[in-house]
């Protein structure tokens, strides 16, 4: 309830929940705001390029962005354990890069941060959501040195190393992980501009898909050492969805042979828009278009919060990739201000593997 | 005294029941002289009680004239008529019912006292009247503590004590046993003759009716 307080105080509101026409899309991401505002925000376009190290940090002139991490881990007993962490930034007022941020002492309300942490293990799901006012100091991100934090949750580099440290605490669970990157930056779409519709709305999007993860997870009363593969996403935009798109289905898959597949499908009524990236064992990225990629749900589950597709068929033409992707058992809803499904998946078919799946726009009601 | 004390002319009263007009008193004409005793007889429901009510102004006729002591009353129910009737009932007309003639909260003598006070008489002969009617030794008792016959006697004492010109008695002995009824009736007629007041007596008891000077049969007349 109090969280509703927090985020309903935001002007734009991340809640597209009372929008039956779907005009504002999932979580209001299809909203474009008023004309004047729209022009003040920057919007990625085909041709926009990634700039490092700046793009690790926040983009105050973009409306929405996130840092997103999932990991498929294994416990000492060999059981799979999935971990997710996401931190969102929503800008209420655009701020050009040259302009200095407002002073914290003025308690500004130019932006708001939200962080999600989740664990999926043994058919159970744990989730926590935190919110914070922006430009105060207790939540934020920086590009160099790279850091993302909200209260006592933090993703930060480990000194004297290239690895990152991620610590997240929930009510009765926590994880403390070390992320080591073993690959290159994967820029999606056209040099980082990932289109989300045929008319060109989209975002800047890159990933680190080759993360080795170790650490400890405390959940269900036990602390265990874990290790496995991780996937880090970085995405930002000001008009993410086209008006009318209700949500998306996203997959980040680690295949046994070292290849990676990122695929997503945006849903708009009866039609869809798909896109993806194929990363081969050497780390070369190939952008997959609509014709190359087929994503179709093959089995549904009547879950507590709505009907969700939990088994999928993913095909990449010309590569002999025909995958059956199945969500791990249980209900894996991230039930915060807005509900979405986030779960580990098992891959079989032409390739074996595992990964993570995110399904948005399926929840029946506002939480 | 000569003349008419009570004169009734073409008296009519009907009840309206289920949309039908049921005549109770039908074009009744009669008169009563001072000191006379008239028995009003008839079947049950023939209007005996109603007639007595009309004769003391407790009910108003549909039309016709009732004249008491040369004062005429028609079917008017205005304030003046009502006040006049009340006045008559206070001082001139005494009414005795079959039962419940006395205030239960007052003793017999206090009942008589109240009655005479209302009648404006202050002769303070209440006790005497009770004795005359044979209930002198019950004077301080309450009406629910004396027998039915004694209560009726006290009621009669009360009525006589106000020196009425006319007594209307509605089945005064109706709830008494034969023996007591006879005794009470005896007292009634004796005192009536003594005081010279007129008496209109409604009864179904033929023997009682026979003791009156005249009989008015409502079933025949109506």
């Amino acid at each position: 309830m109090a969280v509703v307080v927090g985020l309903s105080a935001l002007g734009a509101g991340l809640s597209g929940c009372d929008d039956p026409s779907g005009e504002s899309g999932f979580a209001g991401l299809a909203e474009s705001g008023g004309q004047a505002e729209a022009s003040a925000f920057l919007q990625p376009k085909p041709g926009t390029r990634l700039v490092f190290p700046d793009d690790w940090g926040p983009h105050p002139q973009h409306r929405i962005e996130w840092w997103y991490f999932t990991a498929n881990l294994t416990t000492p007993e060999g059981r799979p354990l999935g971990v997710q962490w996401t931190q969102f930034r929503q800008a209420l007022q655009p701020r050009p890069a040259a302009k200095a941020p407002p002073s914290p002492a003025t308690w500004p309300m130019d932006s708001a941060w939200m962080a999600h942490g989740a664990i999926s293990f043994n058919g159970d799901h744990w989730f926590e959501e935190k919110v914070a006012r922006g430009d105060i100091g207790h939540a934020g991100a920086s590009a160099d040195p790279f850091r993302v934090w909200l209260d006592d949750w933090e993703l930060a580099p480990i000194s004297e190393s290239d690895a990152w440290h991620l610590q997240v605490q929930g009510d009765n669970w926590d994880y403390d992980l070390t992320l080591s990157n073993t690959g290159n930056i994967t820029a999606h779409g056209d040099g980082g501009f990932s289109a989300k519709s045929s008319s060109g709305e989209g975002s800047m999007y890159f990933s680190l898909a080759h993360l080795n993860v170790t650490g400890t997870v405390t959940v269900a009363g036990r602390t265990q050492a874990v290790s496995g593969k991780g996937w880090f996403d970085r995405e930002w935009s000001s008009q993410f969805l086209k008006a009318g798109q209700q949500g998306w289905d996203w997959f980040g898959l680690h295949l046994e042979d070292g290849q990676k597949l990122m695929a997503f499908r945006l849903r708009e009524g009866d039609s869809t828009f798909s896109s993806g990236s194929w990363v081969n064992a050497d780390g070369d990225v190939e952008s997959l278009q609509e014709d190359d990629l087929t994503l179709s749900p093959t089995a549904w589950k009547e879950s507590a919060r709505g009907r969700v597709p939990v088994v999928w068929q993913l095909r990449v033409s010309g590569r002999g990739v025909d995958l059956r992707v199945k969500a791990s058992p249980g209900e894996h809803w991230n039930a915060g201000l807005v509900s979405y499904w986030e779960s580990p998946v098992a891959v079989s078919g032409s390739h074996d593997g595992k990964g993570y799946m995110e399904l948005t726009g399926y929840a029946d009601q506002a939480p | 005294m000569s003349g008419t004390l009570l004169a009734v002319e073409r008296l009519n009263l009907a009840f309206v029941s289920a949309g039908q007009r049921v005549p109770v008193i039908n074009n009744l004409t009669f008169s009563v002289a001072p000191g006379e005793s008239l028995a009003v007889v008839g079947r049950s429901g023939s209007g005996k009680s109603t007639l007595l009510n009309l004769l003391c102004g407790l009910q108003t006729p549909d039309d016709g004239v009732i004249a008491i002591d040369n004062e005429s009353f028609g079917n008017a129910s205005d304030a003046v008529s009502i006040a006049r009737w009340a006045e008559l009932r206070r001082q001139l007309i005494g009414v005795v019912f079959q039962q419940a003639n006395l205030m239960p909260a007052l003793s017999l003598v206090d009942n008589v006292r109240l009655r005479t006070h209302l009648a404006g008489r202050h002769k303070q002969d209440e006790l005497w009247w009770l004795q005359r009617l044979g209930v002198g030794d019950q004077a301080d008792r309450y009406p629910d503590r004396v027998s039915g016959g004694q209560a009726q006697r006290a009621a009669l004492a009360m009525v006589f004590a106000m020196s009425p010109s006319l007594i209307l008695a509605d089945e005064p002995t109706g709830s008494l046993d034969r023996h007591t009824a006879d005794e009470v009736a005896e007292s009634l007629f004796n005192v009536q003759v003594e005081t010279g007041c007129a008496l209109v007596l409604a009864t179904h008891d033929s023997e009682l009716a026979a003791r009156c000077g005249r009989v008015l049969d409502l079933s025949a007349a109506g």
């Binding site: 109090a2 307080v5 308690w107 309300m109 | 407790l58 009340a86 206070r90 206090d110």
Partner: protein, 750 residues
Amino acid sequence: MLIRAFLSHYQRHPFQLAALVLMIVLATMLWTGVTVLTDQARSSLAQNEETVAARAHIVRTDSQPVGVEDFVRLRKTGVCVAPWLEVKRPAPEGQVIGVDPMSMACFGRSAPIQDAASLDGTPFMDIGDALRVSQEGYDSQLYLIAPRDDIELPQGYALRAFSLAPPTGELADSFLLNLDALSLLVLLITGLLIRSVYRLGLVQREASFELLYRFGVLPRQIRQLLVLELVVLTAVGVPPGLWLGASLAEALGTGFGQALGSLFDLTLYAESFGSLPWRAAVVMVALVLTVCLLEWVFPQPRQPAMVSAYARLGGGALLLAGALGVVLATELVWVFAGTALVFAGVGLLTPPLLAAVEERRSVRSGATASVADPLRRWRARELSVMFRQLALPVVALQFSIAAVLAVHALVTTFESTFEQWLGQRLAADFYIEVPQGGDSATAARRLNALEGLGTWHLVAHGKAQVRPEEAGTGADPLTADLMALTPITDLVSDWALLSSAERSWRELASGAVMVNEQLARRHDVEVGSPLELTIAGTRMRTNVVGIYADYGRPVAEVLLHADTLPAAFTPRSESFSVNKGELSRDVIHDRLADTWGAPDLQVRDNASIRELASQIFDQTFLLTRAISALTLVLAAVALLIMIWVFFTTRVWYFRLLGVWGLQGHQVRRQLRLLSVRLTLTITAAALPLGIWLTWVLVNRINPLAFGWSLPMDLYPVFWLELGLMAGAAGLLVAHLMRRQLERDANGERP
């Protein structure tokens, strides 16, 4: 067929049926309303105590004011903390409090606001907006509040209590205990009222029951039908009463909630409802069945005369026993028992007493025959009969009116007591706590030097061991709170003392002490009693020169002049109470902050606290007055019903007066005289009982429960109001009888 015969009485007297159902509805409504309101008042006071008084805020151990950096630092270590910016904007716009709803997400249920709609500036608003308001030129103070007082903090930070109002202590508890006692009385009254209406009808039906019996209907069957009838009546009457009572309570409760809603969430109240009305329903059903079917358990004896003699004797005995019990009791439960006995005794004695009074009146009327007014005598005798025959409703009404009197006195007394208590506690304009390590002596000197300052004093708080010398050397000393004042100004010398010696305040300077009422009562200390005080290891002999009322403070307290303290004494805490005089708050603040090097010194403004505390109690009293009003209404309605039902059984005899020649308006006049005298007499009979009940509540129940007494005040104006109401009820009844009288003269004879 049997059922039809059974119910035929109600066909002829539909009003009695309606009256009975109405009584059940009203009684249920009253009882439900009372229990819901009392429970609500209790839980709301508890919740408010908790929410208002027990909050924590975080301070820096280096006494520097907290700022946004501290907020950030704390949040980053995982502490749940939220900013609270108080902007002291004067009336009429008033104070605003800036908050950040997002950081309060971790407060859960103890968050001061629960939905965004309450960020409208009354008094909460977004902290950024509040800051802008303060920049218009108002004082502001930033606090960092925490949801509980037991959280762990990193180095450099400490928790302090953050209270918005002084805790009300036992004042509230006492009030609620008395309310409970009255609720029971209300239940008793409603039981009696229902019973009387029911019995009246039953008596009239005895003849028809006899008839049925003669026709071969078994008594068992008649009893079964009676029970069935009662169950149906209850089923019809109780639910509407429950709904009415709960609605009424909700209407009043919401008002309460709204008054506090400017600071606290309305949902504090929503959860008070739900299960309560069902409890009330069960109680009512049990009550109705019990009081109406009492005869089956305790059959009525056949000789009324004997009964009345026993009743009078028994009544007197009960009254005496109860009164003695109440006066002598040393425990609360015996006071309640004694009160119950007194009520029982009064209940037995009142009807015969009132009847006897009327008898004497009637005898006197008739004594001198020449000036006799037989009509007056008739009225007196009628009243005498009425009091005997209507004993039960008369007593029930007497109890109701007494209860109303007591509630009124109770509430009014509490209100004024509370005002006094607030005044005593918050006498000065400002209250300043001396920070740890602050030099109070220097501060006192510097305050003294401030031109234009109003009266002020310094209070040193500590503990002392007290032993009343009269208690003997073997008695254990008790620990009392110590308040050492200097200088003694009119800030305290205006206190109303319960008892005092001559020039008591002056005596303090010579070493005498004053004690609070708790200490005096519990340990038999009086003015002039010698006391042995041990302060900081030093023993002192002193005597008591005054006892002050300290409503609701459960601890013993000793007050003395600071100059008499032994040198070894170090206070636990010190505070200044300051009247600003001609100066502004800032000047005082700066002077003291300067002295102690504490720029974030808190100067608490007593006026706004007083305002808040008053608001809280105002609404509590509103609830109680509502209970009182409900009872009064029930009593009035019962009075009406009862008299009317009784009068209808006497209609024939009233008409007899008409037959005997009284005009209509004259008969009505007699009726009016009868009914008004009846209602006024009952009210008059309730007065002594009501006064006595008030005395018991403030002088016996309260001291035994809490150790301090309330002042006993009488409110004759209210008695007058009750009398007027009684008179009006009497006139109304007489008016309603008109139609009965004007009916056909051939109407039923008894």
